[in-house]
């Protein structure tokens, strides 16, 4: 039966003493946490262990003896060490021995039967596994992704083993508080025995974080109370706020900041990572926004943009007019119904004329508006991009209107056609039973129905062509807006802190462990080195990505094509489940 002993690498050069740690009987492995040096008083050692056990809920006991001598241990030392085994009784009792300056280790594990039957005590093979205590303490194991039809709780039972080792080391912080220079009754050797290490900046930041968080939390609660006041809930304003993606983004950022600066401590490491990721994301956002602002102001781009905006809007309107003239003629050689063509074309031309007048009305104020909007970039690059997306939506509002008119007309025509086609064949749609039933029509009903059907069929190409052209334009605008939203989502959801941690401190995020066999001599126990296997980058992003607004297109390609064919309106951005006609 092979026993496993996990031994910290920092104790490999420590002086002789007692081994202190935890025995895990299910894995038949012993996790050594520290070495207690001579001289010590057994009562005090037991008191210390009881204290640690109470503080950390980990069953810390004396596991055996550790001997680090220049030559083979003498007989007297051997009896002394065995005598210790009688005081601190533990099954099995480990005796690790190492010659100073050499790589040969020896270890035995004995089951202490009693003071008389020394010869009958069984000895087991021991496998030594070295681990870096500091890294194992700081790292966090990420078990492999559970299968979709299993709950996460089922796998914890079988994930014992190494998770138990990590858990033991992580929870035994109380044991590592005292270092070599303390004047306590018991001298311990562990990873912090050279002196507890800490950073002044980190300690100062922790100390200052309390009042700063309190102040910022008050400010943020004021802001959110102001934004939730009744004035903004009135109908026109609430409708506008729900449509603009800028407001969505600002709300999202406000929520994130409230979470970061809340005075409640994070309950588990996942929440702490989430807070850190959010903070880094917000800081990067603001930094990129400030860079954008400085670039805009340096080249005076705002003035140039304002000057170029009106001519561009005019140019777009002129292009639309040319398009409509083309449609009113013989587009692509197709022959349209002249009367309907003229009616639709004139209607849309008048709409464009209204739009151009509106733009010209706004032109004196454009530069001021753009300047103020440019200032908002200091709230973050995502806010600036959302504003850009909203400006595009506002400037192409007439394309949206044309799309709605064309789609409604086409939709009406298609419904009329399908209903009259059923009449043509002598059938009817039964609303009660939601199916098509046969029906006997009167002669005059059939006559008028067939007439209307013929009219609608012959007018179909015209309407369909207008619908097609305006839908394509609308889809183009939607694609551009979609790309901007994609970029905003990327900045919002990328877990930069976790990625940075994976890059600089790969042992903190562990996917598992890996073993390496150290130099082996026959007759000596097997020695392995346990190292931490870091999480791959794709899993880091997948595990720690931040939740975003969730404004993703909800349709699949099939339903999109179906909606396009039947002329139903497409709303690619459903924000928070609001409904609109």
């Amino acid at each position: 039966m092979v026993l496993k002993a996990f031994f910290p690498t920092c104790c490999a050069s420590a002086d002789s003493g007692l081994l202190v740690g935890r025995w895990v009987p299910e894995q038949s492995s012993a996790v050594v946490l520290a070495v207690v040096h001579f001289p010590f008083i057994p009562i005090q050692v037991k008191e210390l262990l009881a204290q640690v056990q109470q503080a950390s809920q980990v069953g810390v006991t004396v596991l055996g003896t550790w001997c680090h001598r220049r030559q083979e241990p003498e007989e007297s030392l051997g009896h002394f060490l065995e005598g210790l085994g009688a005081i601190f009784s533990h099954k099995p009792w480990f005796q690790l021995c190492r010659e100073r300056g050499s790589k040969s280790w020896s270890c035995k594990a004995t089951h202490w039967q009693g003071p008389t039957s020394h010869a009958a005590s069984g000895e087991d093979q021991v496998m030594l596994i070295f681990y870096d205590q500091r890294k194992v303490l700081l790292s966090q194991l990420h078990p492999p992704a559970v299968l979709p039809d299993r709950q996460a709780g089922d796998t914890t039972a079988s994930a014992g083993g190494l998770a138990a080792v990590f858990d033991t080391v992580a929870r035994s912080e109380a044991l590592f508080q005292s270092d070599r220079f303390d004047e306590g009754p018991v001298r311990l050797s562990h990873w912090q025995s050279e002196g507890v290490e800490a950073s002044i900046l980190v300690e100062l930041a922790k100390w200052a974080a309390g009042p700063v968080c309190l102040l910022l939390a008050c400010l943020l609660s004021l802001v959110s109370a102001a934004s939730a006041c009744r004035v903004f809930k009135l109908w026109p304003l609430s409708f506008i706020w729900s449509k603009l993606s800028t407001c969505e983004q600002l709300r999202h950022r406000l929520e994130q900041l409230t979470l970061i600066f809340s005075t409640r401590k994070a309950k588990n490491p996942a929440q702490l990572m989430r807070k850190a990721n959010m903070l880094v994301s917000v800081l990067l956002d603001v930094a990129l926004g400030l860079m954008l602002l400085s670039w805009l102001h340096r080249k005076d781009l705002i003035g140039q943009l304002a000057d170029a905006l009106i001519p561009v809007a005019d140019h777009v309107a002129k292009e639309l007019q040319h398009l409509l003239q083309w449609l009113m003629g013989a587009p692509a050689g197709l022959k349209m119904n002249r009367a309907l063509d003229q009616v639709l074309g004139r209607f849309f031309l008048y709409h464009i004329h209204l739009w151009i007048s509106y733009i010209h009305l706004m032109s004196p104020f454009i530069e001021r508006i753009l300047w103020h909007v440019g200032l908002s970039a200091c709230l973050g690059l995502t806010v600036a991009l959302s504003i850009l997306s909203d400006i595009i939506a506002l400037l192409t509002f007439h394309i949206y209107c044309f799309y709605v008119y064309g789609a409604r007309l086409y939709c009406l025509k298609i419904h009329g056609l399908s209903s009259l086609w059923r009449l043509f064949r002598g059938k009817k749609w039964n609303v009660l039973r939601q199916r098509v039933d046969s029906c006997s029509y009167d002669l005059d009903q059939l006559f008028i129905g067939t007439l209307l059907f013929t009219i609608l069929v012959f007018l179909l190409p015209t309407t369909a062509l207008y619908y097609l052209v305006f839908t394509l334009l609308r889809l183009l605008v939607v694609t551009v807006q979609g790309l901007i939203h994609l970029l905003v989502d990327l900045i919002n959801s990328l877990p930069l802190y976790s990625l940075g941690l994976r890059l600089c401190r790969p042992y903190r995020l562990a996917a598992g462990v890996k073993f390496r066999v150290l130099e082996h001599e026959t007759g000596r126990p097997l020695r392995l080195l346990m190292q931490i296997n870091p999480l791959p980058y794709s899993r880091v992003v997948h595990t720690y990505r931040l939740p975003t607004c969730g404004c993703h297109p909800k349709h699949s390609w099939g339903s999109l094509c179906r909606k396009l064919f039947f002329g139903e309106l497409i709303y690619p951005w459903r924000q928070r489940g609001d409904k609109q006609d």
Binding site: M1, V2, K4, S28, Q125, M127, I129, L147, R150, D154, T155, A157, S158, G160, G161, L162, G512, V513, K514, F515, V517, H520, L526, L528, N533
Partner: protein, 188 residues
């Protein structure tokens, strides 16, 4: 205790199987894949550069030649770091687990460790691969919910793809250790 044998993979290339026995309970198999040859490297580089020179004579833009050099260099680095596996190692430690390491030609190593508590068995399986039927060695993992079920099949030596004779060698040694582990785990 170390010994080395030579086998062949499914395409006929030469593989070297190195077996190291550290102790009765710890065994390591190292399978080395055929190396990248100078001939294939030269062939690929010449093809890319000839194509770039052909484009250059058409377009008269010298950026194409620099781009071709960049692409060749980056492609070679990417191939050595992400694609070409130099050797694969299987380490079995009784009562601890099974570890598979793939070492790439650039020195990068990617390791997976499976604890012994999750391993149900190690078997040789048949599979249809392109137009062939090949044998491969795989580890069957236990299902946490169902005691006799299998939750996952993990194939070993996926890029070396040795033939059956090599697999039988590895299989026999693995089964020795697994049998020993099962015998000792049932006894207290």
């Amino acid at each position: 205790m170390e010994d080395e044998q030579s086998f062949s993979d499914i395409y006929g290339g030469r593989l070297a199987l190195q077996r190291r026995c550290y102790s009765p309970s710890c065994l390591e198999f190292c399978l080395s894949c055929p190396r990248i040859t100078l001939r294939s490297l030269t062939a690929v580089t010449c093809t890319v550069w000839l194509a770039a020179y052909g484009l250059f004579t058409l377009c008269e833009n010298s950026m194409i030649l620099s781009a071709a050099i960049f692409i060749t260099l980056l492609g070679l680095l990417g191939y050595l770091h992400f694609v070409k596996i130099d050797h694969e190692t299987l380490l079995i430690i009784d009562s601890l687990g099974i570890q598979m390491t793939s070492s790439y030609a650039s020195g990068k190593e990617s390791t997976t460790f499976i604890e012994m508590g999750e391993v149900k068995d190690v078997v040789i399986n048949e599979a249809i691969y392109m137009q062939k039927v090949i044998y491969y060695l795989c580890i069957l993992l236990k299902d946490p919910v169902e005691p006799h079920g299998i939750s996952q099949v993990v194939p070993l030596f996926q890029s070396a793809k040795p033939r059956l004779d090599c697999l039988i060698e590895v299989y026999r040694s693995c089964q020795d250790i697994l049998a020993h582990q099962r015998a000792t785990s049932t006894s207290p």
